[in-house]
């Protein structure tokens, strides 16, 4: 039963996501691509692209689109895929919301506990590694083309470098960067269709 599986999987993803949308990407990727095989790594990368250029929290967008794709890939009709997307997005926020409301009640008393403080500090450090893993896992031939002096691989590496530098150094908006890379892609691969 894919809907129940989706619900449980995204409950798990929600409660173990610390540090925002980008660390959630690592968990969603691990579950929907590696563990359940609901979609290919390439499909997942395209979902990430769309999730970052549409409005809203990246975690919600990715969960919505991944839920839709998982059900659609199982060969079920579109309205059931829509149901899958709603189940995934609701499941992903359910436990964290209950938790933060409960914690808000309790925490005022334990705010200065050193154990709680070091726990969160440790989590923040580990999350950096989680996000790095998500990026490394996506560095495949699906994303970049096959390694070597061919047009697609060279173009991909250049695009990667430029987008990386513009994000770090100039804080250019991801929406602008995605649309610009897409435009470069359209130009390049319609001019050189064999690449």
């Amino acid at each position: 039963m894919i809907f129940l599986e989706l619900f449980i999987t995204f409950l798990k993803i929600g409660i173990f996501t610390f540090g925002g949308g980008y660390s959630m990407i690592a968990l969603i990727q691990d579950e929907v691509v590696a563990r359940h095989g609901w979609m290919t790594s390439q499909e997942f990368t395209d979902i990430l692209a769309v999730s970052q250029m549409t409005p809203g929290p990246i975690g919600i967008n990715t969960a919505t689109y991944a839920g839709y794709t998982a059900v659609a890939n199982a060969g079920l009709p579109a309205w059931q895929a829509v149901a899958g997307s709603l189940i995934a997005s609701l499941a992903v926020v359910l436990l964290p919301v209950v938790l933060i409301l409960a914690v808000n009640r309790v925490l005022s008393r334990h705010k200065d506990s050193p154990a709680v403080a070091t726990m969160f500090r440790c989590l923040r450090v580990a999350v950096v590694g989680l996000i790095a893993a998500a990026a490394l896992t996506l560095m495949t031939a699906d994303s970049f083309g096959h390694f070597g002096m061919n047009l697609r691989f060279v173009a991909s590496v250049v695009l990667f470098g430029v987008v990386f530098a513009l994000t770090i150094k100039r804080k250019v908006s991801p929406v602008v960067l995605i649309l610009a890379s897409g435009a470069v892609g359209i130009l390049l691969y319609t001019l050189f269709p064999q690449a």
Binding site: G14, T17, V103, R121, I131, S181
Partner: protein, 179 residues
């Protein structure tokens, strides 16, 4: 009574619809609406909740919506705020998902995604370095994120395990240091 729920829904609807680039991009608009315009939270309360929502699991923007809604109208207020926050994003994604499934084999769409894929990887790689600074990663503790990345990437360890181990280790370390 009903008016308050509608106001919460509408306010978070605006915040969710007009920010692109994820939850943290919503902070400025959220502050303007929640603190300055409606006065639902003081600036200090708002900053405390930003810190808490960042530290807790889940989707940052949704956590914020839940807390603000709960403060005003209890659980119903939370539901109204969250629904407002995620309504447009979900509709947007579904429209695109349906559209793309029809145009997947179109040459232009294909070219677009071939160009976008390496860019997406770069967009995910970049916050590793900016967040490393914010999380106070130094030479002495950088083995933790490196080990986490290698365990997940090369050995297929679940990120869930990493989160559990890091959280428990930090908690125990804090307990020991206190005594």
């Amino acid at each position: 009574m009903m008016a308050k729920y509608c106001e919460l829904f509408y306010t978070f609807f605006k915040i969710g619809t007009f920010t692109v680039g994820g939850g943290y991009a919503m902070i400025p608009l959220m502050e303007r609406e929640v603190v300055e315009r409606h006065g639902w939270l003081t600036r200090e309360e708002f900053l405390d909740q930003v810190a808490l929502s960042q530290a807790m699991p889940g989707v940052f923007a949704v956590n914020m919506a839940a807390v603000v809604g709960h403060k005003l109208r209890g659980v119903g207020g939370s539901v109204a705020s969250i629904a407002g926050n995620i309504a447009m994003p979900i509709v947007f994604i579904l429209l695109l998902a349906v559209a793309f499934s029809h145009f997947r084999d179109n040459k232009v769409v294909e070219g677009f995604f071939l160009g976008v894929r390496p860019a997406v990887v770069a967009l995910i790689a970049a916050p590793v370095f900016t967040l490393a600074k914010a999380a106070k990663v130094t030479w002495s503790n950088c083995w933790t994120p490196v080990a986490a990345a290698v365990l997940i990437w090369l050995l297929g360890v679940s990120p869930v395990v990493i989160v559990l181990v890091a959280g428990m280790a930090g908690f125990v370390y804090g307990k020991i240091k206190k005594h």
